[in-house]
Symmetry: C2
Protein backbone atom coordinates (compact mmCIF):
# COMPACT_ATOMS: atom_id res chain seq x y z
CA UNK A 1 0.00 0.00 0.00
CA UNK A 2 2.99 2.27 -0.42
CA UNK A 3 1.11 4.37 -2.98
CA UNK A 4 -1.30 5.66 -0.34
CA UNK A 5 -0.85 8.84 1.64
CA UNK A 6 -0.48 8.27 5.40
CA UNK A 7 -3.68 8.62 7.45
CA UNK A 8 -4.44 12.09 8.87
CA UNK A 9 -4.45 12.57 12.65
CA UNK A 10 -7.52 10.84 14.07
CA UNK A 11 -7.90 8.44 11.16
CA UNK A 12 -7.88 4.73 11.99
CA UNK A 13 -7.06 1.78 9.75
CA UNK A 14 -8.06 -1.83 10.31
CA UNK A 15 -6.50 -5.11 9.17
CA UNK A 16 -8.64 -6.39 6.31
CA UNK A 17 -9.62 -10.06 6.00
CA UNK A 18 -7.15 -12.37 4.28
CA UNK A 19 -9.61 -13.46 1.61
CA UNK A 20 -12.48 -12.02 -0.37
CA UNK A 21 -16.03 -13.31 0.08
CA UNK A 22 -17.33 -12.68 -3.45
CA UNK A 23 -16.10 -11.57 -6.86
CA UNK A 24 -17.03 -8.82 -9.31
CA UNK A 25 -16.90 -8.58 -13.08
CA UNK A 26 -16.20 -5.25 -14.73
CA UNK A 27 -19.07 -4.74 -17.18
CA UNK A 28 -17.74 -1.59 -18.82
CA UNK A 29 -15.89 1.63 -18.19
CA UNK A 30 -16.85 5.23 -17.44
CA UNK A 31 -15.30 7.96 -19.55
CA UNK A 32 -15.05 11.39 -17.95
CA UNK A 33 -12.89 14.49 -18.48
CA UNK A 34 -11.08 13.89 -15.18
CA UNK A 35 -7.84 11.98 -15.68
CA UNK A 36 -6.79 11.78 -12.03
CA UNK A 37 -8.55 11.48 -8.68
CA UNK A 38 -7.37 14.96 -7.76
CA UNK A 39 -9.25 16.51 -10.70
CA UNK A 40 -12.59 14.83 -9.90
CA UNK A 41 -15.48 16.90 -8.52
CA UNK A 42 -16.36 16.37 -4.87
CA UNK A 43 -19.73 14.82 -5.62
CA UNK A 44 -21.82 13.71 -8.55
CA UNK A 45 -23.95 16.86 -8.55
CA UNK A 46 -21.12 19.37 -8.70
CA UNK A 47 -20.69 19.47 -12.48
CA UNK A 48 -24.10 19.12 -14.14
CA UNK A 49 -22.66 20.92 -17.16
CA UNK A 50 -20.33 18.01 -17.97
CA UNK A 51 -21.45 15.09 -20.12
CA UNK A 52 -19.76 11.75 -19.48
CA UNK A 53 -20.05 8.35 -21.14
CA UNK A 54 -20.54 4.79 -20.08
CA UNK A 55 -19.08 2.22 -22.48
CA UNK A 56 -20.51 -1.25 -21.92
CA UNK A 57 -18.40 -4.31 -22.66
CA UNK A 58 -19.85 -6.10 -25.72
CA UNK A 59 -20.27 -9.27 -23.63
CA UNK A 60 -23.00 -7.46 -21.67
CA UNK A 61 -24.41 -5.33 -24.49
CA UNK A 62 -27.75 -7.12 -24.74
CA UNK A 63 -28.43 -6.06 -21.17
CA UNK A 64 -29.03 -2.49 -22.39
CA UNK A 65 -32.31 -3.41 -24.15
CA UNK A 66 -35.04 -0.92 -23.16
CA UNK A 67 -32.73 1.14 -20.94
CA UNK A 68 -33.84 4.24 -22.85
CA UNK A 69 -37.26 3.94 -21.21
CA UNK A 70 -35.78 5.44 -18.06
CA UNK A 71 -34.69 9.05 -17.54
CA UNK A 72 -32.29 8.26 -14.70
CA UNK A 73 -30.07 5.33 -13.76
CA UNK A 74 -28.09 4.28 -10.73
CA UNK A 75 -24.49 3.65 -11.75
CA UNK A 76 -22.32 1.53 -9.46
CA UNK A 77 -18.60 1.62 -10.16
CA UNK A 78 -15.40 0.32 -8.67
CA UNK A 79 -12.99 2.87 -7.25
CA UNK A 80 -9.98 0.74 -8.01
CA UNK A 81 -7.43 3.25 -6.80
CA UNK A 82 -8.91 3.68 -3.31
CA UNK A 83 -7.42 2.17 -0.17
CA UNK A 84 -9.91 0.02 1.72
CA UNK A 85 -8.74 -0.02 5.33
CA UNK A 86 -9.56 3.44 6.75
CA UNK A 87 -12.54 2.82 9.02
CA UNK A 88 -12.46 6.30 10.62
CA UNK A 89 -11.70 9.23 8.35
CA UNK A 90 -11.30 12.98 8.74
CA UNK A 91 -12.75 14.62 5.63
CA UNK A 92 -11.44 18.05 4.79
CA UNK A 93 -14.76 19.72 5.68
CA UNK A 94 -14.89 18.18 9.19
CA UNK A 95 -12.55 18.45 12.14
CA UNK A 96 -13.45 15.17 13.83
CA UNK A 97 -13.06 11.63 12.56
CA UNK A 98 -16.24 10.09 11.19
CA UNK A 99 -17.08 6.46 10.48
CA UNK A 100 -16.70 5.37 6.88
CA UNK A 101 -20.36 4.30 6.67
CA UNK A 102 -21.41 7.88 7.53
CA UNK A 103 -19.31 9.22 4.65
CA UNK A 104 -19.50 9.08 0.85
CA UNK A 105 -15.72 8.82 0.69
CA UNK A 106 -14.27 6.60 -2.08
CA UNK A 107 -12.10 5.02 0.63
CA UNK A 108 -14.18 2.16 2.11
CA UNK A 109 -13.94 -1.61 2.67
CA UNK A 110 -15.67 -2.22 -0.64
CA UNK A 111 -14.86 0.85 -2.74
CA UNK A 112 -18.12 1.00 -4.66
CA UNK A 113 -19.06 4.40 -6.03
CA UNK A 114 -22.72 5.27 -6.61
CA UNK A 115 -24.16 8.06 -8.72
CA UNK A 116 -27.71 8.77 -9.78
CA UNK A 117 -27.14 9.79 -13.38
CA UNK A 118 -29.38 11.36 -15.99
CA UNK A 119 -29.49 9.27 -19.15
CA UNK A 120 -29.05 11.72 -22.03
CA UNK A 121 -28.60 9.37 -25.00
CA UNK A 122 -28.09 5.72 -25.94
CA UNK A 123 -26.00 4.79 -28.97
CA UNK A 124 -25.17 1.11 -29.27
CA UNK A 125 -22.91 0.20 -26.35
CA UNK A 126 -22.39 3.83 -25.32
CA UNK A 127 -24.58 5.79 -22.92
CA UNK A 128 -24.22 9.53 -22.62
CA UNK A 129 -24.90 10.60 -19.05
CA UNK A 130 -24.84 13.57 -16.72
CA UNK A 131 -23.92 13.78 -13.00
CA UNK A 132 -20.98 11.58 -12.22
CA UNK A 133 -17.79 12.35 -10.33
CA UNK A 134 -15.28 9.60 -11.06
CA UNK A 135 -11.94 9.38 -12.80
CA UNK A 136 -11.77 8.59 -16.52
CA UNK A 137 -11.50 4.83 -16.99
CA UNK A 138 -13.30 3.86 -13.78
CA UNK A 139 -14.68 0.31 -14.08
CA UNK A 140 -18.48 -0.04 -14.09
CA UNK A 141 -19.97 -2.88 -12.06
CA UNK A 142 -23.75 -2.34 -12.33
CA UNK A 143 -26.46 -0.17 -13.88
CA UNK A 144 -29.99 -0.09 -12.51
CA UNK A 145 -33.07 1.90 -13.51
CA UNK A 146 -33.90 4.64 -10.98
CA UNK A 147 -37.37 4.30 -9.51
CA UNK A 148 -38.51 7.54 -7.86
CA UNK A 149 -41.12 5.56 -5.92
CA UNK A 150 -38.46 3.78 -3.86
CA UNK A 151 -35.20 5.65 -4.52
CA UNK A 152 -36.27 9.28 -4.07
CA UNK A 153 -36.53 10.55 -0.48
CA UNK A 154 -36.55 14.36 -0.75
CA UNK A 155 -37.15 14.77 2.99
CA UNK A 156 -34.10 12.73 4.04
CA UNK A 157 -32.17 14.53 6.77
CA UNK A 158 -28.43 15.02 7.10
CA UNK A 159 -26.35 17.19 9.43
CA UNK A 160 -26.66 20.93 8.92
CA UNK A 161 -23.09 22.08 8.75
CA UNK A 162 -21.69 20.62 5.54
CA UNK A 163 -21.90 17.16 7.10
CA UNK B 1 -25.75 -24.11 -11.83
CA UNK B 2 -28.11 -27.00 -11.44
CA UNK B 3 -29.96 -25.20 -8.63
CA UNK B 4 -31.33 -22.58 -11.03
CA UNK B 5 -34.65 -22.78 -12.79
CA UNK B 6 -34.35 -22.91 -16.61
CA UNK B 7 -34.72 -19.56 -18.41
CA UNK B 8 -38.22 -18.58 -19.54
CA UNK B 9 -38.96 -18.29 -23.28
CA UNK B 10 -37.21 -15.18 -24.59
CA UNK B 11 -34.60 -15.09 -21.84
CA UNK B 12 -30.96 -15.19 -22.93
CA UNK B 13 -27.91 -16.24 -20.96
CA UNK B 14 -24.29 -15.35 -21.70
CA UNK B 15 -21.02 -17.09 -20.88
CA UNK B 16 -19.46 -15.21 -17.99
CA UNK B 17 -15.74 -14.38 -17.86
CA UNK B 18 -13.43 -17.06 -16.48
CA UNK B 19 -12.06 -14.83 -13.72
CA UNK B 20 -13.25 -12.03 -11.46
CA UNK B 21 -11.85 -8.52 -11.76
CA UNK B 22 -12.20 -7.44 -8.12
CA UNK B 23 -13.14 -8.87 -4.73
CA UNK B 24 -15.66 -8.00 -2.05
CA UNK B 25 -15.67 -8.39 1.72
CA UNK B 26 -18.90 -9.08 3.54
CA UNK B 27 -19.15 -6.34 6.21
CA UNK B 28 -22.23 -7.67 7.98
CA UNK B 29 -25.56 -9.37 7.46
CA UNK B 30 -29.15 -8.23 7.00
CA UNK B 31 -31.81 -9.82 9.19
CA UNK B 32 -35.34 -9.85 7.82
CA UNK B 33 -38.48 -11.93 8.41
CA UNK B 34 -38.18 -13.53 4.96
CA UNK B 35 -36.37 -16.84 5.10
CA UNK B 36 -36.42 -17.64 1.37
CA UNK B 37 -36.29 -15.66 -1.85
CA UNK B 38 -39.87 -16.67 -2.59
CA UNK B 39 -41.13 -14.94 0.56
CA UNK B 40 -39.39 -11.62 -0.13
CA UNK B 41 -41.44 -8.58 -1.18
CA UNK B 42 -41.12 -7.48 -4.79
CA UNK B 43 -39.38 -4.22 -3.93
CA UNK B 44 -38.01 -2.37 -0.95
CA UNK B 45 -41.05 -0.13 -0.58
CA UNK B 46 -43.66 -2.87 -0.46
CA UNK B 47 -43.51 -3.58 3.29
CA UNK B 48 -42.94 -0.28 5.14
CA UNK B 49 -44.58 -1.88 8.19
CA UNK B 50 -41.72 -4.35 8.63
CA UNK B 51 -38.63 -3.49 10.66
CA UNK B 52 -35.41 -5.24 9.69
CA UNK B 53 -31.90 -5.18 11.13
CA UNK B 54 -28.40 -4.75 9.85
CA UNK B 55 -25.74 -6.45 11.97
CA UNK B 56 -22.26 -5.12 11.28
CA UNK B 57 -19.24 -7.39 11.65
CA UNK B 58 -17.18 -6.21 14.68
CA UNK B 59 -14.15 -5.75 12.40
CA UNK B 60 -15.98 -2.84 10.77
CA UNK B 61 -17.86 -1.55 13.80
CA UNK B 62 -15.92 1.71 14.16
CA UNK B 63 -17.20 2.66 10.72
CA UNK B 64 -20.65 3.30 12.21
CA UNK B 65 -19.49 6.41 14.11
CA UNK B 66 -21.93 9.31 13.47
CA UNK B 67 -24.22 7.22 11.26
CA UNK B 68 -27.15 8.30 13.45
CA UNK B 69 -26.82 11.81 12.01
CA UNK B 70 -28.58 10.61 8.90
CA UNK B 71 -32.25 9.68 8.56
CA UNK B 72 -31.75 7.47 5.52
CA UNK B 73 -28.98 5.21 4.23
CA UNK B 74 -28.21 3.41 1.01
CA UNK B 75 -27.66 -0.28 1.74
CA UNK B 76 -25.76 -2.36 -0.82
CA UNK B 77 -25.97 -6.11 -0.37
CA UNK B 78 -24.89 -9.25 -2.15
CA UNK B 79 -27.63 -11.47 -3.56
CA UNK B 80 -25.57 -14.59 -3.15
CA UNK B 81 -28.27 -16.97 -4.36
CA UNK B 82 -28.86 -15.24 -7.69
CA UNK B 83 -27.61 -16.57 -11.02
CA UNK B 84 -25.51 -14.03 -12.89
CA UNK B 85 -25.74 -14.95 -16.56
CA UNK B 86 -29.25 -13.94 -17.69
CA UNK B 87 -28.67 -10.83 -19.78
CA UNK B 88 -32.24 -10.67 -21.14
CA UNK B 89 -35.05 -11.47 -18.73
CA UNK B 90 -38.84 -11.71 -18.89
CA UNK B 91 -40.20 -10.42 -15.60
CA UNK B 92 -43.62 -11.66 -14.62
CA UNK B 93 -45.21 -8.22 -15.17
CA UNK B 94 -43.90 -7.91 -18.75
CA UNK B 95 -44.46 -10.04 -21.83
CA UNK B 96 -41.28 -9.15 -23.68
CA UNK B 97 -37.66 -9.75 -22.67
CA UNK B 98 -35.91 -6.73 -21.19
CA UNK B 99 -32.21 -6.07 -20.69
CA UNK B 100 -30.90 -6.72 -17.20
CA UNK B 101 -29.68 -3.13 -16.84
CA UNK B 102 -33.25 -1.89 -17.36
CA UNK B 103 -34.49 -4.14 -14.55
CA UNK B 104 -34.09 -4.21 -10.76
CA UNK B 105 -33.97 -8.00 -10.87
CA UNK B 106 -31.63 -9.72 -8.38
CA UNK B 107 -30.33 -11.75 -11.31
CA UNK B 108 -27.49 -9.67 -12.83
CA UNK B 109 -23.78 -10.01 -13.68
CA UNK B 110 -22.87 -8.52 -10.30
CA UNK B 111 -25.84 -9.37 -8.06
CA UNK B 112 -25.73 -6.23 -5.92
CA UNK B 113 -29.00 -5.28 -4.26
CA UNK B 114 -29.69 -1.65 -3.39
CA UNK B 115 -32.27 -0.24 -1.00
CA UNK B 116 -32.77 3.25 0.33
CA UNK B 117 -33.58 2.46 3.95
CA UNK B 118 -34.88 4.57 6.80
CA UNK B 119 -32.58 4.40 9.82
CA UNK B 120 -34.85 3.83 12.82
CA UNK B 121 -32.32 3.11 15.59
CA UNK B 122 -28.63 2.42 16.24
CA UNK B 123 -27.60 0.08 19.07
CA UNK B 124 -23.95 -0.90 19.05
CA UNK B 125 -23.32 -2.98 15.94
CA UNK B 126 -27.03 -3.30 15.14
CA UNK B 127 -29.04 -0.89 13.02
CA UNK B 128 -32.82 -1.09 12.94
CA UNK B 129 -34.09 -0.13 9.51
CA UNK B 130 -37.21 0.06 7.38
CA UNK B 131 -37.70 -0.58 3.64
CA UNK B 132 -35.67 -3.54 2.51
CA UNK B 133 -36.69 -6.55 0.47
CA UNK B 134 -34.00 -9.21 0.85
CA UNK B 135 -33.78 -12.67 2.35
CA UNK B 136 -32.76 -13.11 5.98
CA UNK B 137 -29.00 -13.55 6.19
CA UNK B 138 -28.18 -11.57 3.05
CA UNK B 139 -24.56 -10.33 3.18
CA UNK B 140 -24.07 -6.57 3.42
CA UNK B 141 -21.31 -5.03 1.30
CA UNK B 142 -21.68 -1.27 1.86
CA UNK B 143 -23.62 1.40 3.72
CA UNK B 144 -23.66 5.02 2.60
CA UNK B 145 -25.45 8.08 3.95
CA UNK B 146 -28.32 9.18 1.68
CA UNK B 147 -27.94 12.74 0.41
CA UNK B 148 -31.23 14.09 -0.94
CA UNK B 149 -29.27 16.77 -2.83
CA UNK B 150 -27.74 14.20 -5.19
CA UNK B 151 -29.70 10.96 -4.62
CA UNK B 152 -33.30 12.18 -4.74
CA UNK B 153 -34.80 12.73 -8.21
CA UNK B 154 -38.57 12.86 -7.70
CA UNK B 155 -39.21 13.72 -11.33
CA UNK B 156 -37.36 10.70 -12.73
CA UNK B 157 -39.40 9.03 -15.44
CA UNK B 158 -40.08 5.34 -15.99
CA UNK B 159 -42.45 3.47 -18.30
CA UNK B 160 -46.13 3.90 -17.50
CA UNK B 161 -47.44 0.37 -17.41
CA UNK B 162 -45.74 -1.26 -14.42
CA UNK B 163 -42.43 -1.09 -16.29
Amino acid sequence: MSEFKPPRPGEVSIPLPAAFDAGLYYIGFIRTPWKTRAECPKNSGERPDVLARIEIDPVYGAGLKDIGLFSHLIALYWLDEARRDLILQVPSHLEEPRGVFALRSPVRPNPIGLSVVELVAVDGLTLTIRNIDCRDGTPLIDLKPYFASIDSVPQARRPDRRG
